[in-house]
Subunit: 536 residues, 2 copies
């Protein structure tokens, strides 16, 4: 068992912004000038003079919680409660920035291991207290906004006290991780043994292992290393009805695969306290490069060809024409030629990345390069790839800076089969632009591909106006309705939460909803786990 | 939509034997001589003079069924009922051979599509009639032996009336298949469009698409094409509570993946009426070859190395020393040298197979060959591979011939992580030999590998004696207990059925069992679907 030393922990994110406060800042003047050419700029800073509602949990319940878990594990500090209010979607941030802390938990509890989680759930069920598991706090679909109606209070179950690498099985290439480990923390512990997990979503620096599991996260290297759910071979879960260990083997025929029932369960069925994952040797070589395609369709068809011939690099992503143009409009790129110069006149940028041993990288890169050239792509060399790699986790910081000057920025994503890709792309783009009106920028990329289909990830930027939240919500609803009308996924890798709940029944049917409700009732009969989240 | 013409249908299997009656026969004299050197040979033919119990279903219920589905879909013929009694495990065959037809269904119903299945389930729930879905009848874990206690009768829901290729999406590389298609039938329909599924379990010639799905089948090409569950991207399921379509996208984060709840559900939650699978182009080249390893452990370590470096051929299987020796003892090989001569003195035979385009096969074969040579393997050329390929579906015929002469033969399989492979192998082997006594042959192979672990498939041959069934059941129980004690999977690709049900709770815990029961109660409140199967 390897403890994470305190000084290696990721910093805590502030209540109103993404990421490490040391990395945050105003828009650079050069970017500000550029953005100002598109949107009217204002000055809309976050309110910091806010009051956190007094805890609603009765004093005797707080006392019994302290007796159960120890004084230090039970935290009622206002600022700590404030930063565990909601996640980091733009609506979450807009509410936080406006000083709306109506969703604040009453108390933050930080158990030190499985047994304390199990004890807490027993206590919560007995006293009808709602429990919302909190990993990295990076949720973007309202998964932390529990419905407290009918409960004696809301406990934020902070998994930050569970950040150990419990064991490594080098023969089987597996490792057992605690759920509170953030992405870089887990990778640092594994790297000490020459290993890695290889899961790099944009939220990587702050999101947690448990969060990756319960939201079916997918990272930027999914083409090579798979989705997070495909990395999981075992789970230990605490539920109000007892605990369960799942994963006798990599795959089996011992009935339905119940790992898949807890993966994506968003804390509604239980709290994952241990995650056994497949690990890999640290790659010796990492190569990222750019490709130019005449159109989004041409690039997407090339991705499809690679996936259908099982010839995928480690990273494969493709920006549409809008996103390509915006990415090129980096202040440091303006006026310059650079290696990306050939896409300045239009078309789409693809990033392909290769990681592994020198031999494996060389072989894969050669095969993919031959295929992409044959399909009509133009190699742009390493510069666009390195530029993407350097900025791969930076977008949420830029969003904060844009919110500060009154520009509304949000993302949403979906997935479908290849034959419906274009229909879905057009429908969601149209829903967003029609709702938000002229002057709205809608960008899109494909960053996760399969033999049978792909994800579509949209970024929207528009004037925030006086009421940015009220301006965004109808656009989000229109996008969701367009997704449902296409028969596509309401989320490819961000989960259901509360934001997508109204659309889930359309996707999994009433029979699917009945199955989820039945499992919920069996494992959490008092309904204390993340009430109002996931299950319609 | 493409119908399967009647003359292209697979023949029906007889009640007491495997496969096509035209292919069955007594042991060749040469084999008989060889087997006689190991086991005392007798003459224990199957009883064919048996009486099928009279149907227990009330006449008025039969009449209402005929009104609902039409006269021709409702079959009470004794022989048709007899061949839909149980599956094809050795215990099933021993009971059938002894004339025990106590598990015979009262009536066989053959719906022509989803709507008729849905109507049948409504009727069954209303009248409390048990329904056991019957695909190819190849079940080997008692999945067709329903518990009729408390029911007005038992209907065998024969899916043989649903054998269409409903649609193909060439862009997404998917096809929608009806569940009653047998393996070769589905491949024949797909081949007309230059496509294939690539799922070849030993039961391939007779098992059905629906059966592959509900048992989480895995085929001989799983290293290259994946398990059957990994090929499934969509399902339509009829349940007594209504129907559901699942699979908005290849993968997503729309809550738990409910496809995984119906895959492996063995007809206990609903009847799968459509399966959408990933398809591939027909391979232009197929190459199978042999490798020699000094020991089972050395060969298994090589498989592990390939899997952990994501460098897998299409087919990869390894026999242990016993199975290698027995396979070599083919009458046509005895005394000859052949290319397998170098393993005659011991060691283990591995089969590696490559399928695809000439370029892809050449590249993969070169890379795997280099890796295997480096790991200490000795290439044996194509002959052992071709020999394996020719006989790949033949073992069940040999079992019948051996049962005819009083030799008891059965198989069982499990899966675990690599670090526990040897412990599991020893434990199961010991349980079998200790229970069955001296003179028992226990053979093993690995035919499904993952980065983190593998399957172990055992074949047992022993003197049948006077009461072969009573002789086998304690050995099977001892093997199951050894599997459970190792924390391994009670089945890698043959499901739970009734045979493995006593061991399921040890694998998925009481919480896992509670989840299954809850789903069952929600979707099948009257419990009419395959009662007694899967769920403890």
């Amino acid at each position: 068992m390897t403890e994470l030393s305190t000084d290696r922990r990721q910093p805590e994110m502030p209540a109103t912004r993404w990421g490490d406060p040391a990395e945050a800042g105003p828009l650079p003047d050069s970017v500000r000038g550029l953005v100002g050419m598109v949107f009217p700029l204002g000055d809309t800073p976050a309110r910091e003079d806010v009051t956190v509602p007094a805890p609603a949990l009765a004093a005797e319940l707080l006392d019994s919680l302290r007796s159960l878990l120890g004084e230090e594990q039970v935290i009622v500090d206002d600022e700590i409660r404030r930063v565990r209010t909601r996640g980091k979607s733009t609506p979450d941030l807009l509410r936080q920035r406006a000083g709306d802390l109506s969703d604040a938990p009453d108390v933050v509890v930080r158990p030190r291991g499985h047994d304390e989680v199990q004890a807490l759930l027993g206590w919560a069920a007995e006293h009808r207290v709602a429990v919302t598991p909190f990993g990295g706090g990076t949720a973007v679909t309202g998964g932390l906004a529990v419905d407290r109606a009918g409960f004696a209070g809301v406990v934020s179950l902070d998994l930050g006290g569970m950040r150990r690498l419990l064991s490594v099985d080098p023969v089987s290439s597996t490792a057992v991780l605690e759920p509170g480990l953030r992405g870089p923390e887990a990778e640092a512990l594994l790297a000490e043994q020459g290993l890695m997990l290889g899961h790099y979503p944009q939220s990587f620096e702050f999101a947690s292992i448990g969060g990756f599991a319960v939201t079916r996260s997918s990272g930027q290297s999914s083409a090579g290393y798979g989705r997070f759910d495909s990395m999981v071979v075992g789970l230990r879960v605490a539920t109000p009805s007892g605990d369960v260990r799942l994963g006798s083997s990599p795959a089996n025929a011992s009935g339905p695969d119940l790992r898949e029932l807890f993966l994506g369960s968003e804390g509604a069925f239980g709290v994952i306290t241990e995650v056994t994952v497949r690990v890999r040797p640290l790659p010796e070589v990492k190569v990222y490069e750019g490709w130019h395609w005449p159109s989004f369709a041409a690039g997407a068809d090339a991705m499809r060809a690679l996936a259908q011939s099982d010839l995928l690099p480690t990273v494969l992503r493709l920006s549409d024409e809008n996103e390509t143009a915006i990415n090129l409009a980096r202040p440091d790129a303006i006026g310059g030629e650079g290696s990306a110069g050939s896409v300045a006149s239009g078309g789409c940028l693809m990033i392909a990345g290769y990681e592994g041993t020198p031999e494996a990288v060389a072989a894969k890169q050669a095969a993919v390069t031959a295929a992409l050239e044959k399909l009509g792509g133009t190699a742009l060399g390493p510069e666009p790839g390195e530029s993407w790699s350097e900025g791969r986790f930076a977008a949420p910081y830029l969003r904060d800076s844009l919110l500060d000057v009154g520009v509304l920025v949000e993302t949403l994503e979906t997935a479908t089969f290849w034959s419906k890709r274009d229909e879905l792309y057009r429908a969601v783009s149209a829903a967003l632009t029609e709702t938000l009106g002229e002057g709205t920028l809608v960008l899109c990329h494909i960053s996760h591909v399969y033999a049978t289909g792909c994800s579509l990830y949209f970024t929207v930027a528009t004037e925030g106006g006086e009421q940015p939240l009220e301006r965004w919500l109808p656009a989000k609803a229109a996008a969701c309705e367009a997704i449902v009308a296409c028969g596509a996924a309401i989320s490819h890798h961000h989960a259901v939460g509360t934001d997508h709940k109204p659309y889930l029944a359309a996707e999994i049917g009433e029979v699917g909803v009945a199955a989820l409700r039945a499992v919920k009732a069996a494992l959490d009969p008092q309904g204390v786990l993340n009430p109002g989240v996931l299950i319609p």
